[in-house]
């Protein structure tokens, strides 16, 4: 019944997309069963897992990246003075394709690595692929975690219900109050003329966008987690207070954890990780982050964003290795705050690449950072609004961070919890944005 509901949920966007998710499910179930055969030769096992990877990446390649590659090739050919009569396909991007293809590939790859036994039940596997709370925008689950929960009989305990309600309520506030209100500020900032925008407005735009994308994506992840918990299923945590990260490595252990860990386990480590010497390590870091950026969208700005993060990670690694004694000498609350501040600033500035519509706009906004810093009407309005929404979220998350438990609020005195829930409900009633915004990660 859950499988039918998941297919109905997914098909309600566009029933044609169901064929793709069913294809991916059928291929990977078959590959998984084949890989489970005993005493199969290594070469044959490799061929089977290659089928899974090729099919899933082909789905992505055709439906998500075909137009991008064709357009980029056309630009290159034209630049070289050659004629560019390349085919074009106007394909609608299937919702969630970036998420479920990665999720099914992890199943076959884990079986290939001997870390997982394949399931014999097609329906259970189909539900693992299409489980509706996390189908369209993650978290990207691993079969080792999710499949046993689907296979085993389950029921929601009182803890599941309590934590599920907390997740849904807090997730709604993050999306409806934080993300959608910050979207207004972001959209206005990025609509300003880059040639006249003030530096304060650029920073306002990226700070607002940081909280918009955090509220949007974290909010969705929480709602997905909460919904699943009400059905007795635990999805992985996708965010862990990323704005408290002290360096880029820690940032990616706290931000979009399901994607960053997937890239680490299925791309970075197979490339060699940090085992092949310094140059190869940096190459692997760059490749992983560039492809991670490309995962977000078929556009050069995402590639650039990934590149910025790759360079940042590489620089951090180099600095960590070359100055470990200096690093030890600069611990303490002041140093921690400085590191958190710097990490947040670099993360936000990198978002310029992510959010800008064109490279020209990115360039213009970067130049504006070295231009005037007039305190405009927009800055006078936007910064207090940003503080109004961001400061309470950060204060609450600092409290949770210090408790070391993402569900700390569900374990406090009932009166305190009730007051917190009351505050969330009143925030939802009184401070939703005048205009709603789509979930950002639905476009990926």
């Amino acid at each position: 019944m859950l499988l039918v509901a998941s297919y109905i949920f997914y098909g309600s966007w566009d029933w044609r997309f169901l064929s793709l998710i069913i294809l991916s499910t059928a291929v990977d179930f078959t590959v998984g069963k084949a890989l489970g055969a005993p005493d199969m030769a290594a070469e044959r096992r490799k061929r089977w897992v290659t089928i899974s990877v090729v099919v899933n990446l082909s789905l992505l390649g055709v439906f998500k990246y075909f137009g991008f590659f064709v357009d980029s090739a056309a630009v290159l050919l034209t630049t070289l003075g050659l004629q560019a009569n390349l085919p074009s396909l106007h394909i609608v991007l299937p919702v969630g394709i970036s998420f479920y293809t990665f999720q099914t590939m992890s199943y076959t790859i884990d079986i290939y690595r001997g870390q997982l036994k394949p399931t014999d039940d097609l329906l259970d596997f189909a539900l693992y692929v299409s489980f509706f709370p996390q189908l369209v925008a993650g978290p990207i689950e691993r079969a080792k975690r999710l499949l046993p929960q689907i296979i085993e009989p389950r029921s929601a305990t009182a803890d599941d219900v309590r934590e599920g309600i907390y997740c849904i309520l807090y997730g709604l506030v993050m999306k409806v109050v934080i993300a959608d209100n910050m979207a207004l500020v972001t959209n206005h900032a990025f609509a300003l003329d880059p040639s006249t925008i003030s530096g304060f407005e650029v920073f306002l735009g990226v700070y607002a966008f940081a909280f918009q994308v955090y509220g949007d994506f974290y909010g969705y992840s929480l709602i997905a987690q909460g919904t699943a918990r009400l059905m007795g299923i635990r999805l992985m945590d996708n965010f862990r207070h990323p704005f408290f990260a002290k360096n880029p490595q820690e940032l990616w252990q706290r931000w979009h954890i399901s994607l960053s860990s997937w890239l680490r386990d299925y791309l970075y480590f197979p490339l060699g990780g940090s085992r092949g010497g310094t140059a190869k390590t940096y190459r692997n870091l760059m490749l992983t982050m560039v492809l991670g950026g490309l995962w977000h969208g078929a556009a050069w700005r995402y590639v650039l964003w990934g590149t910025v993060h790759g360079v940042w990670l590489a620089m951090h690694r180099w600095m960590s290795q070359s100055s470990s004694r200096a690093k030890d000498a600069v611990d303490g609350i002041g140093a921690t705050l400085l590191k958190v501040f710097v990490t947040f600033q670099v993360f936000c500035l990198a978002l310029l690449f992510f959010r800008s519509e064109t490279l020209e706009q990115t360039g213009g906004l970067l130049r504006a950072l070295f231009g005037n810093y007039a305190v405009t009407d927009f800055a006078q309005l936007g910064y207090p609004l940003l503080a109004f929404y961001a400061v309470p979220v950060m204060a609450y998350e600092l409290w949770v961070e210090r408790r070391g438990d993402l569900f700390a609020m569900t374990k406090v005195h009932p009166v305190v919890r009730a007051c917190f829930y009351l505050a969330l409900i009143l925030l939802l009633m009184w401070f939703p944005a005048p205009m709603r915004s789509e979930f950002i990660y639905f476009q990926f």
Binding site: R162, L381, L385, F388, P414, I425
Partner: protein, 313 residues
Amino acid sequence: MNQTNSRPSEIWVILIVVVGLVAAEGLISLLRPQLSGDIRHLDESDDIVREVVAGDGLRVVVGGNSLIGEGVDGAILEAALELTTGEEVTVGVIKPDGTGPLEWDYLFRKIMFNPGEHPDVLVLGFGPGHMIDVEPRVHLLRLGVHHVDWPDQGRLSSFDGLGFEERMTVALASLSATFGLRDRVSARVFAALIPNYRALAPILLRGDAPERDPTNLHTYRHINALLDVAGTSGVPVVLLKMPAQRPYEVEEEVFALEERPGVVVLDLDPFPELLGPEMYTDQVHLDEAGRTLFSNEVAPELAEAIQRAIERR
């Protein structure tokens, strides 16, 4: 915490949340008149109509939005009309901010056209692009709180094409002050925390002129529907073009409304000459001096228009 112990504590959580929401509802209802002068005015609007209906002589309701609120002084207009006509006149002004034909259609048919309880004439003031229909979904809360009753739910669907979610928003706004007045609450909070918030807030919202506003539907269904019910009730209507800092055109569709029985469109071109730019606080709203001057000077033409509307009824 084991499951047996957690159940009573969760019941307490739910109880406290419910009590808190009820308390918030009570508090907002209590503070409702303090949230804005516009709310107080809307709450008094049916009393205003009742006072006019109970008045002597020619009973005139002047309706509109802030253009009327800032542009017409009811007492001065009343005296000027009495001077002009030589008769007793009773004038009441209903001028909820930010409203247009959508809200007037629902509000006025509720309070102004009941049999035996209606004024002798309705004067409806308008400004640039104000007669155009707008998307109802941008005004759902205010519709629910101030203008729409439960019997109007069907009309929201059949006439305005509102979907289930939008009608539920309107219904919830009519039932809950906490929900329905949330834009006023948030505006109050921000105005208290952010200097100059009310002047700056439009930066983030659509600030285009109504004729360029993408929520405009470029139809005139609501003003026509309002004139239908006025006509059925036997109430003549004068559509009064309000002055602005610069002259502006009125759409042909508005002038065409004069073809209806009992409707007169009053377009006073000389007014921009009488009212200098210094008499405006912005492009369309008059200051106190402008309001006094306009309320006095409009009386002769308005009286003549009222007479024509009554004769054409």
